[in-house]
C-alpha cells in the first residue's frame, strides 16, 4: 500500500463550541447534533470521507476541552485519545485543532498545549465569516510563522467552507506507525503563564480586533442577563413554547387523527371476514399506533423551539440566570444544559452530565434528570389534557390547555429542584460554587440546521412508532385477546384475557390512587417507552368498543369513563414515573452502580405514588 492510498486518521480537537462537530458534519456528510453552547459532544464520534486525491480520511470528532489537564469525563476522552491512552484507539496520525476565529485569545492557549504533544498538527480557524463581520483581521501567514504549524481558514456552516482544510489534509503525508507518546513537555518554560504570554504576543503579531466582544451581543446581554428582567424573559419564553404546542398543533393533529380513523375503518371493512386479523389491525395497529402518531406535530413544535434556542446561544445565558437558584437547590448552572437536554429525552441529558466536573454534582444531576418532562410524556399529557381540560381562553389571551401543560412541565422542574435540595441536605460535604461558563456569540438559527434537527427528531419518533411501540402494541393485543372467555362468561371478553387478569390483580395496589385495571395494564408497557402507555390504553379500550370508528377516539372514551380525579392522578403519576428502562440502563452505565439505579427508580416510584394518592384523594373530596 502506498502512502497516497493509506488511510489518514485525523482527530478534531479544540475548545468547546469552536465548531468541531459542524466541521465534522461538513467533511463527512454526517448529521451529528450541533448547537451554540459548550458541551454538546460528550463522546468520540467517527466518520470518514474521501479526499479529491482518492485518499480515505478517517475522522474522529472529540469532545471539546479547555485544557489537556482534564477536569471532566468528556475532556478526559479527548486527552486520552490525543495522548494515545484511550483503550483500543490508536494515536491519530494528524490532529486538527479547531479554533473559534472570534475568540482566539482563549482558543490559542489550547492550540499551544496540543502542539506540545509533538504530533502533526493543523490549526483550522473556524467561523471566519463571523470574524470578518466583526472586523477581526487575522494575518494567517504571521500566525503560521508564530505557531510553526499550518493554519487554514474554515467556515463549517457554509458549503465549501472546509475546502482549504481538505486541500491541506490531502497534501499531508501519513506518518510512520504512530507510537504512544507522552506529552512533549518543553520543560519549565511551558507553564500556564508562559502559554498566556505566548498567546498575547501571537495576537499582537497576527490579529487585529476592533473590540474584544461583539457590540450586539453586549447590548442584548444587558437585557437578557438582567437579574430580574432576564428571569422574566426566560419565563415568558418557556410559557409561550407550551402555548404554541397546543395552539399550533391542533389543526395538523385533527388531520392525522381523521386520516388514521378513516383508513382504519376502510381496512377494517376489508377484513370483516377474518375477525381475529380484523381485531389485530383495527384494535391493535390503528387504534394503538394511530393514537400515538397524532402527537407528532406537538413533539415537532416543541423541538422547533428547543432547536432555535440551542442555535441562538441563549441557553448558556439561561444557565447563568438560573445558577443562583440552582445552587440553592443543590445543583449548579452547569446542570442546566443536561437538564434541558432531558426535556428531549433523559438519556442524552444523563450523558451530558459528563461535562460536570464535581462527581457529586454530576450524580445529583443524573438522579433528578428523569424528573424533567421528556418528549415521550407529551402524548400522555396532551391526551389527558385534551380529554379533561376545556379548550377555553384565560385572561382573554392564553389557552387553558397550554397553561395546564406549562404547569405540568413546571411541576417537573420544581420537583427536580426539591429532590436536589433534599440530596444536598443529605450530603455531608459541600461543593464549591464556581460557575465558569463561556457565553457564546448570538447567532440567528440556521433554517437548514433547524430543519435537519426536526427531520432527525421526526425520524426518531417514527422509528419508535414502527419499532418498539408497534411490537409492544402487538404483544398487548395478543395478551388482551387470549385466552378466549369461558362459556357462559358474563363480563367482556378482555376481562378474561391475560392482560385483564394482570390488570385486575394490579388494581389491588393502584385502586387507592384511582387507577382502573385498564390504566394498570397500560403502565407495564409504559416502562418500555412512555408513549406506549397511550397506545396501550387505545388498544385496551378499542378491544371493548362496539364499532371501528370508536377505536380511534380514545380521548372521548376516557373522558366519558374516567373521573376527573383519576385523570389528574394519572397526570401526577407521569410527572414522576415510570422511568423507561433505557434511562435506568444509562444511569447504571454512567454511574457504574446498581445502587444508584435502585435509588433512582425507588424514589421516583415512591414520589409518583404519593403524588397520585394526594391528587386523587383531594380531587375526589373536592369534586
Amino acid at each position: 500500500m502506498n502512502a497516497t492510498a493509506a488511510t489518514l486518521r485525523i482527530a478534531l480537537v479544540g475548545n468547546p463550541n469552536s465548531g468541531k462537530t459542524a466541521l465534522f458534519n461538513r467533511l463527512t456528510g454526517s448529521q451529528q447534533k450541533v448547537a451554540n453552547y459548550a458541551g454538546v459532544t460528550v463522546e468520540r464520534k467517527e466518520g470518514r470521507f474521501v479526499a479529491p486525491s482518492g485518499r480515505v480520511m478517517q475522522l474522529l470528532d472529540l469532545p471539546g476541552a479547555y485544557s489537556l489537564d482534564a477536569a471532566s469525563p468528556d475532556e478526559a476522552i479527548t486527552r486520552d485519545i490525543c495522548e494515545g491512552r484511550y483503550p483500543g484507539e490508536a494515536v491519530p496520525d494528524l490532529i486538527v485543532c479547531v479554533a473559534d476565529a472570534t475568540n482566539l485569545r482563549l482558543h490559542l492557549r489550547f492550540v499551544l498545549e496540543v502542539k506540545r504533544l509533538g504530533r502533526p498538527l493543523v490549526l483550522a480557524l473556524n467561523m471566519m465569516d463571523a470574524a470578518r463581520k466583526r472586523g477581526i483581521r487575522i494575518d494567517v501567514g504571521a500566525l503560521e510563522k508564530a505557531l510553526g504549524i499550518p493554519v487554514v481558514e474554515t467556515v463549517a456552516v457554509q458549503r465549501g467552507g472546509a475546502a482549504a482544510l481538505i486541500e491541506r489534509l490531502d497534501a499531508s503525508v501519513a506518518p510512520g506507525p504512530a507510537s504512544v507518546s507522552a506529552p512533549v513537555d518543553s520543560g519549565a518554560a511551558a507553564t500556564e503563564a508562559n502559554l498566556h504570554e505566548q498567546v498575547r504576543s501571537m495576537l499582537a503579531a497576527a490579529v487585529t480586533m476592533p473590540r474584544a466582544t461583539s457590540a450586539i451581543d453586549d447590548a442584548v446581554d444587558r437585557v437578557v442577563l438582567h437579574p430580574v428582567g432576564g428571569l422574566a424573559i426566560l419565563a415568558v419564553v418557556m410559557f409561550l413554547i407550551f402555548q404554541a404546542v397546543f395552539t399550533w398543533a391542533a389543526p395538523v393533529q385533527d388531520v392525522i387523527t381523521n386520516g388514521v380513523t378513516d383508513l382504519g375503518v376502510w381496512v377494517g371493512g376489508l377484513l370483516q371476514s377474518m375477525p381475529l386479523l380484523h381485531s389485530l389491525v383495527t384494535d391493535g395497529l390503528f387504534a394503538g399506533l394511530g393514537t400515538v402518531l397524532a402527537f407528532l406535530p406537538q413533539i415537532l413544535i416543541l423541538f422547533l423551539f428547543i432547536l432555535m434556542l440551542e442555535e441562538s446561544g441563549y441557553l448558556p445565558r439561561a444557565a447563568f440566570l438560573l445558577d443562583r437558584m440552582m445552587f440553592a437547590a443543590g445543583l449548579t448552572g452547569r446542570s442546566f444544559i443536561p437538564l434541558l437536554s432531558s426535556f428531549a429525552c433523559a438519556i442524552p441529558g444523563i450523558m451530558a452530565t459528563r461535562s460536570i466536573q464535581d462527581p457529586r454534582d454530576r450524580l445529583t444531576t443524573i438522579l433528578v434528570a428523569p424528573l424533567m418532562t421528556c418528549s415521550a410524556r407529551l402524548p400522555v399529557y396532551t391526551l389527558l389534557i385534551a380529554a379533561f381540560i376545556p379548550r377555553r381562553t384565560v385572561l382573554g389571551l392564553f389557552n387553558l390547555q397550554g397553561v395546564v401543560l406549562f404547569v405540568l412541565y413546571f411541576a417537573g422542574v420544581v420537583s427536580a429542584l426539591a429532590v436536589a435540595w433534599v440530596i444536598k441536605r443529605m450530603r455531608s460535604d459541600k461543593s464549591e460554587h464556581a460557575l465558569l461558563m463561556e457565553l457564546p456569540s448570538y447567532r440567528l438559527p440556521n433554517p437548514r440546521d433547524v430543519a435537519i434537527g426536526l427531520w432527525e427528531r421526526a425520524k426518531i419518533f417514527l422509528r419508535r412508532v414502527t419499532g418498539i411501540i408497534l411490537s409492544l402494541t402487538v404483544l398487548l393485543w395478543f395478551l388482551s385477546s387470549f385466552p378466549a372467555p369461558p362459556e357462559g362468561a358474563t363480563q367482556p371478553a378482555i376481562d378474561y384475557s391475560f392482560a385483564g387478569v394482570i390488570g385486575h390483580w394490579m388494581t389491588h395496589v393502584f385502586a387507592p390512587i384511582g387507577f382502573n385495571w385498564q390504566i394498570c395494564v397500560a403502565l407495564i408497557p409504559g416502562l418500555a417507552a412512555r408513549e406506549v402507555a397511550v397506545a396501550s390504553l387505545a388498544t385496551v379500550y378499542a378491544m371493548s368498543a362496539a364499532d371501528d370508528a370508536a377505536t380511534a377516539q380514545l380521548g372521548a372514551t376516557i373522558a366519558s369513563q374516567w373521573s376527573l380525579a383519576t385523570a389528574l392522578s394519572l397526570l401526577a403519576w407521569y410527572v414522576f414515573a415510570p422511568q423507561c428502562m433505557s434511562t435506568l440502563a444509562v444511569i447504571r452505565r454512567e454511574t457504574n452502580s446498581w445502587r444508584n439505579v435502585w435509588i433512582s427508580a425507588g424514589y421516583l416510584f415512591g414520589l409518583a405514588y404519593l403524588a397520585s394518592l394526594l391528587t386523587y384523594q383531594i380531587a375526589r373530596a373536592l369534586t
Partner: protein
C-alpha cells in the same frame, strides 16, 4: 382460519423477538447465535448453513445513546460499557482543610 393464525403467529413472534432484542440485547444475541449455530452443521443442507452464517449476529455497532432516545442499539448492552477509566463516578473524601 389457517391464514389468520399464521399471520398472527408471525406478527406475535416478530414482536416478541423485537422487544427482546431491544431490552435484552445481549441475551437475545446469544440465543440467536446459539440457534443459528445449530443450523450450521455438516449434516445441514448448504442453503441452511449459508443462511446461518450470513445471519450470525455481529457485535453492536449502533449509534451512541447521546444521539437521543432509541438512537442506540440498546443502552443495556454490555458492549456499551464505559470507554474511559474516568467515566464512572468515583468518590474521594475531600480534605477538611
Amino acid at each position: 382460519m389457517l391464514v389468520q393464525t399464521l399471520v398472527i403467529s408471525l406478527a406475535v413472534a416478530w414482536a416478541s423477538w423485537f422487544a427482546a432484542k431491544r431490552f435484552l440485547p445481549v441475551t437475545s444475541r446469544r440465543v440467536q447465535a446459539r440457534v443459528l449455530a445449530s443450523f450450521d452443521r455438516s449434516s445441514s443442507p448448504d442453503w441452511l448453513r449459508d443462511f446461518a452464517r450470513r445471519t450470525q449476529p455481529h457485535s453492536t455497532s449502533g449509534g451512541s445513546c447521546g444521539d437521543g432516545c432509541s438512537a442506540c442499539g440498546g443502552c443495556a448492552a454490555a458492549a456499551a460499557k464505559p470507554a474511559v477509566e474516568a467515566q464512572p463516578l468515583v468518590f474521594r473524601p475531600r480534605s477538611k482543610s
